[in-house]
Assembly symmetry: C2
């Protein structure tokens, strides 16, 4: 049994080839406060690692988060657009003016598991702006003026980070996790020696 | 088009019936520090909402997180076990002594997307302890003494919250999002009026 635990059946997937080039996802983070620093950083990193091509921290500026994200992009490669301070209304307006789609993640939306909402989003074949908020978003977010789709990652309280991750994982059908990042300074996948690092002597 | 955006094709799924009763998942959070309060709360809530039956905050105690989780369970229903302060070694030892499986989520593990690691975990048909750590976990976690499986939710840096969410979503094949919670004081799914809340006058 132990042998099979260690087998590494790699099935490389070409992310860019399989994913339609026309579909791009940008994440809009609404309602960030100073105490959310780490959480918002995690949301932005999840956006990047799960296939989004950019992140907008709406309405406010947070230099620390910007630095964190830019450092990660520099070290780990790929292209990822980070923007902050722009009012959310303007981001949404510009996005919609290009005939793109706005998806609002909310526990009050259509359940991604029990409804056909994901299929309908995919069927549009348009670029997506995914809004992740906090508990108290303006009701306006739910209206057709803002969101084409209100999507619930279940109806239980959890996290904008877990909600976004599941939405992106399902939207991209997991392919983002197999993506190769161009121009990285470090890469775990290519450093086989770093997989299962050896136990150091006397360690814990 | 607008009509189809609003259609609510519900396909209810019986969580308990479809999921084998023998497979239970408990999440072990390692390396929690005081600054992680909100993040650890989100990880615990993600664990609950995505199908885990319990959460262990290892080695340290944090009354605020305990209160948050207990309040959510009371209001939103279902059963969810929360424990804190127990040394991680003891949790792992007790878990393994019952012939159960330990899964360690780490960017240095086998990629859940490109390997067959998830199939091999499911094939054990055993209860899982899922360890989520921080960037610097003890190397010991990677060894066979601790973890039967080291699983990477991709090899890029993101978040223990997004990693756990994707692992659980894939492990339970999304069924947790359709689960009904017994004994809840509030429920979004049953309050149809709360789906797409009406816009308040003069709001934002």
């Amino acid at each position: 049994m132990e042998e099979s635990l260690r087998s590494q059946t790699e099935r490389p997937v070409e992310f860019e080839d399989q994913h339609p080039k026309t579909t791009k996802v940008v994440v809009l983070r609404w309602g960030h406060r100073d105490r959310d620093k780490r959480l918002t950083s995690h949301v932005a990193l999840a956006a990047r690692a799960l296939g989004a091509s950019g992140f907008v921290l709406a309405d406010v500026r947070d230099e620390k988060i910007k630095t964190t994200i830019e450092k990660i992009v520099k070290r780990w490669g790929g292209s990822f657009h980070f923007e902050m301070g722009k009012p959310w209304r303007r981001v949404v307006k510009e996005w919609r003016s290009k005939n793109n789609i706005v998806v609002h993640l909310t526990a009050y939306g259509e359940n991604i598991q029990t409804s056909d909402v994901l299929q309908r989003i995919k069927a549009t074949a348009k670029d997506l702006l995914v809004i992740v908020g906090s508990q108290k978003v303006p009701s306006h977010f739910f209206t057709k003026d803002v969101s084409h789709f209100n999507v619930a990652i279940g109806h239980q309280p959890h996290s904008e980070c877990s909600s976004l991750a599941i939405f992106l994982d399902r939207f991209f059908e997991g392919r983002a996790l197999a993506k190769e990042y161009v121009g990285s300074e470090i890469s775990i996948a290519s450093e086989k020696s770093k997989i299962f690092p050896p136990l150091k002597k006397n360690e814990v």
